[in-house]
């Protein structure tokens, strides 16, 4: 999943980027609000982690601007203030959740998973479809009750497609969820991962729609 991290503190930002990357997120990290605003206009993200206290444009303004553009990407706020007023204002401005600094990396990850789930309109933490069961928190996949070993990228693609069952996903969209800025994208990488997924799971699970993209059918 493609995630935008906006945090001006270099050490915290660096730690979050590393920690979230380990969870499989493709993380773009920005340190100022105005840049974040621009990036949000140009790119499609699955999740946003937004600090409130930012140079040039504060987090609240970034949040309000994106909600005004009808951008409904889930936003997790990072706050350092003690008072509830900032949190209330944040939630009322369209944030989906917040964590107070200092926080546990595991908590951030759990909240992000919950946000993604809610955004996809699900409550169940485990995705199940046609005998394939995917646990986003544990990063585990099983097919017909037996555990299946998947690479990080394979897992991300399966996760994305299983979160959007019945919808066609284009190859560039899948690439976006896999690669952060600056990471190299091999031209046929997505095809290779899909090929591996078909081999490890049911061959008919993921259907290719020529010239459009990939889909996991509802039935």
């Amino acid at each position: 999943m493609r995630l935008l991290l906006v945090e001006d503190d270099t050490i915290l930002g660096d730690g979050l980027k590393a920690g979230l990357a380990m969870e499989g997120y493709a993380v773009d990290w920005l340190t100022d609000g105005a840049q974040a605003d621009e990036a949000l206009k140009l790119n499609k993200y699955d999740l946003i982690v937004l600090d409130l206290n930012l140079p040039r444009m504060d987090g609240m303004s970034v949040l309000k601007a994106m909600r005004k553009r009808k951008d409904s990407t889930p936003v997790l706020l990072l706050t350092a203030r003690d008072g509830v007023s900032e949190r209330v204002a944040g939630l009322d401005s369209g944030a989906d959740d917040y964590v107070a600094k200092p926080f546990d990396l595991a908590e951030i990850c759990a909240r992000l998973r919950a946000l993604a789930r809610r955004h996809d309109g699900r409550n169940m933490p485990i995705l199940e479809h046609k005998g394939v069961s995917l646990d986003p928190a544990a990063h585990q996949v099983s097919y017909q009750g037996k555990p299946v070993e998947l690479s990080q990228k394979e897992f991300e693609i399966l996760n994305f497609l299983m979160s959007h069952i019945g919808q066609v996903t284009s190859r560039p969209r899948l690439e976006e969820t896999l690669y952060a800025w600056g990471s190299e994208v091999e031209s046929n990488a997505v095809e290779v991962h899909i090929h591996h997924l078909r081999k490890k799971l049911d061959t008919n699970l993921i259907r290719t729609i020529r010239g459009v993209g990939y889909i996991i059918d509802e039935n």
Binding site: D9, G15, A18, N53, P55, A80, R81, K101, L105
Partner: protein, 493 residues
């Protein structure tokens, strides 16, 4: 006595009542006493006049009787003296007066019932006092023209005194009975007059400790307005101090939470990762976070310390050259790392009136800022000179400087310039500390653009009364103006 006064809080109302009532009682008592005396004297005079009057009436009567021979008949008829009785009392004081008619030849001829048998007086004419049977009599005597007989009209002293006392006493009783009424009236007036004080007291007493809204001055007398004004001014000051304190705590927690979050995250990344290179990097960052927080905590403690410094600090003559050189040698390694040249320019023998420790902290913060914000390989300049009765000391850097509108804000706590917030590690407290120390010295600090391109901080400190010659001779150099340049070796590579 003094101890008791200190223990018992003085009540304005009690004091006022006590002093008013005491003085009233004293004046009242004196007046009552004097008027009692005067009344008694006047009544005594009145009684004496009455005695004389009665004597003359009796005399006229007796004279008339003698002329008609009635009286001669009377005492020829019976030698025992006639009792002149007054069975029906016309007035309650009537019997208090006794009279005697004495013939020189035959003795007592006629007397009133209340009169004794012995002669009331030996005086033949005029006023006298006689002791008879342990009784003092006031007597007025009048003798006939031929001297054959004498008339004594007398009054017993105890009876007279009783009368005098009861008449004069009435007056005192009147006085005394008015006293409680007057006391009550005074008490009411005092209470009424002091009610604004009470009202103020209640307004204050009903307050929570932290409630610092101004007091209402409604219905307050003119005399109390300055007091309430002062109290309100104090409240305002306190409110500001509290707000400052609250903001400080809030800012401090905010500023510490972000690096803490960074530290925690880096540590967790290090724990979780399988990649030794990622772990190594995360641990390095964690260490950086700890160093940064250490610096922040130190600066916070310094700020807290200088902020809670009582207004009176220990000042002594401090040699500027000495202090500046000490701070520069302290910061030398930091400048060396960035290959920054520190230029010193100043007069020798300038002593300022200051606290040496605080001045060192002040200079270190200014120099630390200058080095931090100057790019590697550039210059920082420290200069000082005598100007009027002050020492003007400036620290200039080659950094990006501050936007025109921001000069006011750079001394605010945790304020960090946008342009440098990401690139320069700082607590955002250095200039706040500097400003506080400047305030403690009643000195002045101002900021402007430096000729080196960056920020110029200008301190104006008061000179010490007399520069200590002995101390200045210890410092480097003897020339009036000298320059000290520290050329740093460029980093090899």
């Amino acid at each position: 006595m003094a101890l008791r006064f200190r223990l018992v809080p003085r009540s304005l109302k009690k004091q006022l009542l006590l002093s008013l009532l005491t003085s009233l009682l004293l004046v009242w008592g004196a007046t009552a006493f004097i008027s009692y005396k005067l009344a008694r004297d006047e009544i005594t005079e009145l009684f004496n006049a009455e005695l004389a009057q009665s004597a003359r009436v009796v005399h006229a009567f007796v004279d008339n009787m003698l002329r008609q021979r009635a009286l001669t008949k009377l005492w020829e008829h019976d030698k025992s003296p006639e009792l002149f009785d007054t069975p029906i009392l016309g007035h309650k004081y009537e019997r208090k007066i006794a009279f005697q008619l004495r013939s020189i030849k035959d003795g007592l001829v006629l007397r009133s019932e209340s009169a004794p048998e012995f002669a009331l007086s030996l005086t033949r004419n005029g006023y006298s006092e006689t002791m008879l049977d342990d009784q003092l009599w006031h007597v007025f005597s009048l003798s006939s023209e031929n001297g054959d007989y004498v008339i004594h009209v007398g009054q017993r002293d105890d009876i007279r005194r009783q009368l005098v006392e009861s008449i004069a006493g009435q007056q005192v009783i009147g006085f005394l009975s008015a006293l409680p009424v007057l006391a009550l009236v005074i008490w009411l007036i005092v209470s009424r007059t002091l009610s604004p004080v009470n009202q103020l007291k209640e307004q204050l007493a009903s307050r929570e400790a932290g409630y610092l809204q101004p007091l209402s001055d409604e219905n307050l007398p003119e005399e109390m307005l300055p007091v309430v004004g002062q109290i309100n001014a104090l409240f305002e000051m306190l409110e500001q101090a509290f707000a400052n304190e609250r903001n400080f705590t809030s800012d401090a927690s905010h500023e510490l939470k972000t690096p803490l979050a960074g530290l925690l995250t880096q540590v967790q990344v290090a724990q979780k990762t399988q990649d030794p290179q990622v772990r190594e990097q995360a641990l390095q960052k964690a260490q950086q976070a700890v160093l940064r927080m250490t610096h922040m905590v130190q600066q916070l403690l310094t700020l807290a310390r200088v902020q809670h410094h009582a207004a009176g600090i220990d000042k002594q003559p401090v040699d500027v050259n000495h202090s500046v050189i000490a701070v520069i040698s302290d910061m030398d390694h930091v400048a060396h790392e960035k290959n920054i040249e520190i230029e010193l320019q100043g007069e020798n023998g300038i002593a300022i009136d200051a606290n040496p420790q605080l001045i060192q902290i002040l200079l270190r913060n200014l120099l630390d800022n200058a080095i931090k914000y100057s790019p590697a390989g550039s210059r920082v300049k420290v200069s000082f000179r005598r100007r009027n009765k002050q020492c003007w000391l400036s620290v200039e850097d080659s950094g990006p400087g501050v936007a025109d509108g921001d000069y006011q804000r750079i001394t605010q706590r945790f304020y960090r310039c946008l342009e440098t917030a990401n690139t320069v590690e700082g607590s955002g407290l250095g200039l706040s500390i500097a400003q506080r120390i400047v305030a403690l010295h009643a000195a002045d600090i101002s900021f402007a653009k430096s000729q080196l391109g960056g920020l110029k901080a200008l301190l104006k400190l008061d000179l010490a009364g007399l520069p200590d010659e002995r101390e200045t001779s210890l410092t480097v150099g003897t020339g009036r103006v000298y320059g000290l340049k520290k050329h740093q070796k460029a980093k090899s590579g």
